[in-house]
C-alpha cells in the first residue's frame, strides 16, 4: 500500500511543480493527438458528409466499411504504418519512422474512420426534409452542406471528442511507429507503459492522472452534448 500512497503523493508533487519531463510528454501528446485529430476532421467530415448525402451503388458497403473502420485495432494500424514507413517500405524514402510525424500519421488513420462514422450518422440523423428546406430557402449546394454541418455541430463535436479520445489514450500504434524515444517521441501512454514496467510508479501515476483528467474533460463535453434540448 505504501507504494501506492507514495506514488500518488509524488505524482501530485510532479504535477504541482510542473515537472519539465512530465510537461514535455504531456505537450507532445496533445500536439501529436491534436494534429492527428485535426487531419481526421478534414478528411472524416468531408467524406462522411458526402457519403451521408450522396446516393450511389454500393453505398451500404461503404457505410459498413466506415463503421468497421471505427473499431480499427491500433496495433494493426501500427503494424501497417510501420511496414509502409520502413526503410525499404513503399514510403520509406520519407524517413519519418520513429518520429512524431509517424505517430501523427498512425493516429490520424485511427481517428479518421471514427470521425467519419459519427459525421455520417449525425448528418443522416438530421430531419429528412431539412435538406429540401435549405434548398428551398435558395441555398447553393455548398451553402446547403455548410448549413447541414452547422446543424449537426453538436454530434460532430462528439465525433471530435471520440476521435481525440481514441488517439490520446492509444498506445500500441504510437509505441510501434514512434519508438518511445525520450524527449522526442515519448507520449503519455507510451511513457506510462515504460515507467510502469520499470517500477517508477510515481511518474506513471502522474501521467495516468493527466490521462484521466483528459478523459474526464472529454466525457464532460460528450455528456453535455447528449443532454441538450431535443430539436423540434
Amino acid at each position: 500500500m505504501d507504494l501506492i500512497f507514495e506514488g500518488i503523493w509524488k505524482a501530485f508533487y510532479l504535477l504541482a511543480t510542473f515537472d519539465p519531463e512530465v510537461m514535455q510528454i504531456t505537450l507532445l501528446s496533445l500536439q501529436v493527438s491534436g494534429t492527428a485529430t485535426f487531419i481526421s476532421l478534414l478528411i472524416g467530415i468531408s467524406i462522411g458528409t458526402t457519403v451521408a448525402l450522396a446516393e450511389f451503388p454500393g453505398r451500404k458497403f461503404v457505410v459498413s466499411l466506415i463503421n468497421t473502420g471505427m473499431g480499427l485495432p491500433p496495433v494493426v494500424v501500427g503494424l501497417f504504418v510501420t511496414i509502409f514507413l520502413w526503410r525499404n517500405g513503399p514510403l520509406g524514402f520519407l524517413g519519418v519512422l520513429y518520429t512524431p510525424t509517424a505517430m501523427i500519421i498512425a493516429q490520424a488513420i485511427i481517428a479518421t474512420p471514427i470521425v467519419m462514422g459519427i459525421t455520417l450518422a449525425a448528418i443522416q440523423a438530421l430531419p429528412k426534409n431539412l435538406r429540401l428546406q435549405i434548398l428551398s430557402l435558395g441555398a447553393t449546394r455548398f451553402q446547403m452542406v455548410w448549413i447541414l454541418v452547422k446543424e449537426a455541430r453538436l454530434p460532430l463535436l462528439a465525433g471530435v471528442m471520440a476521435g481525440f479520445g481514441g488517439v490520446i489514450s492509444e498506445v500500441g500504434a504510437s509505441i510501434m511507429v514512434g519508438g518511445n524515444i525520450k524527449g522526442y517521441s515519448r507520449v503519455l501512454t507510451t511513457a506510462t507503459v515504460m515507467e510502469t514496467s520499470r517500477g517508477n510508479f510515481d511518474i506513471a501515476i502522474a501521467l495516468g492522472v493527466i490521462l484521466l483528467l483528459l478523459a474526464y474533460f472529454i466525457n464532460m463535453v460528450l455528456t453535455h452534448v447528449q443532454q441538450r434540448e431535443r430539436p423540434r
Partner: protein, 368 residues
C-alpha cells in the same frame, strides 16, 4: 385566378419513384396571385407535386415554365428556387435564435444587414412572434415554431409560396389562429400560393381553386364551390364530404327531371338523362332533413323515405346519423335537434331531401 397572367405552368409532368409512377399531371396552370390548394388523402401525390413544382425533386418527364420561361438547366433551377419559398409540416428550424432563423434565407442571398433586420422584424411582427426574436428556436412551442417557419419563408418575399400541410401537426387552437393570420397575410401580399392539405375545410377557406388528388393524379380542379358541389367522380365526391353516394338506374324521365331506381326505391333528381342509363347520386348530409313520423306533407322535398336509424355518431358540434331507407343515407343533425327529436338507434324516422340537392354523376361507358 385574380391575377393578370400565368406565373407557373406544368406540362406533362411525370415522376417515377423506385420504378413506379407516383405523379402524372398532364397540365397545371397557376395564375399570378392565385391560392391553389391540393387536397387528397395521404399518398395522393400532393407533396410530390409541390416538390416537383418547386424543382426540389427531379422530373422524370415534362417541363415547368415560370412566367413562360422553361426551368431546366442547373443554373436556372437554382435561380428559380430563389424566387420561391416552401414551408413543410415540420417547422425545420435551425439550431439558433428565432431572429437568425428568419434571417437565414436573406443571409443565403447576401442581403445586407439593415435590410435583413428590417424584413425579419416585419415578418416576426405579422406572425405575432416578435417577442421570441432573441429566443433559441429549440425552446419555443410547436405553434410558435411554425409561425417562425412561415416568417422565415415570407421574409424572402417569394413569388411563389409552397405550403406542405403546414398546420397538420398543430393543436386546434394554434391551428385556427395561424390559419387566420396566414389568410390575412396572403390576401394582403397577394403571393401566389400552392398549398397541400388533407383538410378540406382549410382548403375551402384559403383557396381560389382546389385540386383534388389521388394516386398521383389531379382528379378535379376548380373553384371551391364547384369542386364541393359538383364532384366529377365518386372519389372526389366522398373526399369533399358527400356522405351518401348511391348507384342506380334511370327508370322514368320527365321534363327536366328523372327518377332512378336505387335498391328498389324511386329517387327523383334533376337533369336530362335517358331511361336505362346508370347514374351516381351524391347527397350532402346537411341537405337531408329528418322528421319523426307522422310526416307532415308540408316540405317541398320530392324525395321522402321512411327509414330506421342505424347509428348516431357525435362529430363535435353536430351528430352524424346513419339511416336505412332501403338504401344507406347519412344526415347531419345538431345536438339540439337530436335531443328535440329524441333520436335513438333503431328508431323509425322520415328522411327527406330535395331533388335539386342531389348531385348526379353520369356513368358513361368508357370509350374503347
Amino acid at each position: 385566378m385574380n391575377g393578370s397572367g400565368l406565373i407557373l405552368e406544368g406540362k406533362d409532368l411525370q415522376v417515377y419513384k423506385g420504378g413506379s409512377l407516383v405523379l402524372e399531371v398532364p397540365v397545371l396552370r397557376i395564375g399570378e396571385g392565385e391560392v391553389l390548394s391540393l387536397i387528397g388523402p395521404n399518398g395522393a401525390g400532393k407533396t410530390t407535386l409541390l416538390q416537383t413544382l418547386a424543382r426540389l425533386i427531379k422530373l422524370s418527364r415534362g417541363e415547368i415554365l415560370f412566367k413562360g420561361e422553361k426551368v431546366f438547366s442547373n443554373h436556372s433551377v437554382f435561380d428559380y428556387r430563389r424566387k420561391l419559398a416552401m414551408v413543410f409540416q415540420e417547422p425545420l428550424l435551425f439550431d439558433t435564435t428565432v431572429f437568425e432563423n428568419v434571417a437565414s434565407g436573406l443571409k443565403i442571398r447576401g442581403i445586407n444587414r439593415s435590410e435583413t433586420a428590417k424584413r425579419v422584424d416585419e415578418n416576426l411582427e405579422q406572425f405575432g412572434v416578435s417577442h421570441l426574436k432573441g429566443r433559441s428556436a429549440r425552446k419555443i412551442s410547436g405553434g410558435e415554431a411554425q409561425r417562425v417557419a412561415l416568417a422565415r419563408a415570407l421574409a424572402i418575399q417569394p413569388e411563389v409560396f409552397f405550403l406542405d400541410e403546414p398546420f397538420a401537426s398543430l393543436d386546434p387552437p394554434s391551428r385556427e389562429s395561424l390559419i387566420e393570420d396566414l389568410e390575412r397575410i396572403l390576401r394582403k401580399t397577394g403571393t401566389t400560393t400552392i398549398f397541400a392539405t388533407h383538410d378540406r375545410m382549410e382548403a375551402l377557406r384559403l383557396s381560389d381553386r382546389i385540386a383534388v388528388m389521388n394516386g398521383g393524379k389531379i382528379l378535379q380542379i376548380g373553384p371551391p364551390a364547384e369542386v364541393m358541389n359538383q364532384p366529377l367522380d365518386e372519389f372526389v365526391a366522398s373526399f369533399v364530404g358527400m356522405e351518401t353516394i348511391l348507384t342506380g338506374q334511370v327508370i322514368k324521365r320527365d321534363r327536366g327531371s328523372f327518377v332512378a331506381s336505387i335498391m328498389g326505391q324511386e329517387v327523383e333528381a334533376v337533369g336530362e338523362i335517358g331511361v336505362g342509363e346508370s347514374v351516381v347520386f351524391c347527397i350532402r348530409p346537411e341537405n337531408v332533413t329528418l322528421t319523426v313520423p307522422p310526416h307532415k306533407e308540408s316540405s317541398s322535398a320530392r324525395n321522402i323515405f321512411p327509414g330506421k336509424i342505424l347509428k348516431t355518431i357525435p362529430m363535435g358540434l353536430y351528430y352524424k346519423v346513419q339511416l336505412d331507407c332501403g338504401f344507406l343515407l347519412v344526415a347531419y343533425v345538431t345536438g339540439h335537434s337530436l335531443e328535440n327529436l329524441s333520436l335513438t338507434e333503431g328508431q323509425e324516422i322520415v328522411a327527406s331531401f330535395k331533388a335539386t340537392a342531389i348531385h348526379v354523376i353520369r356513368k358513361t361507358k368508357k370509350a374503347l
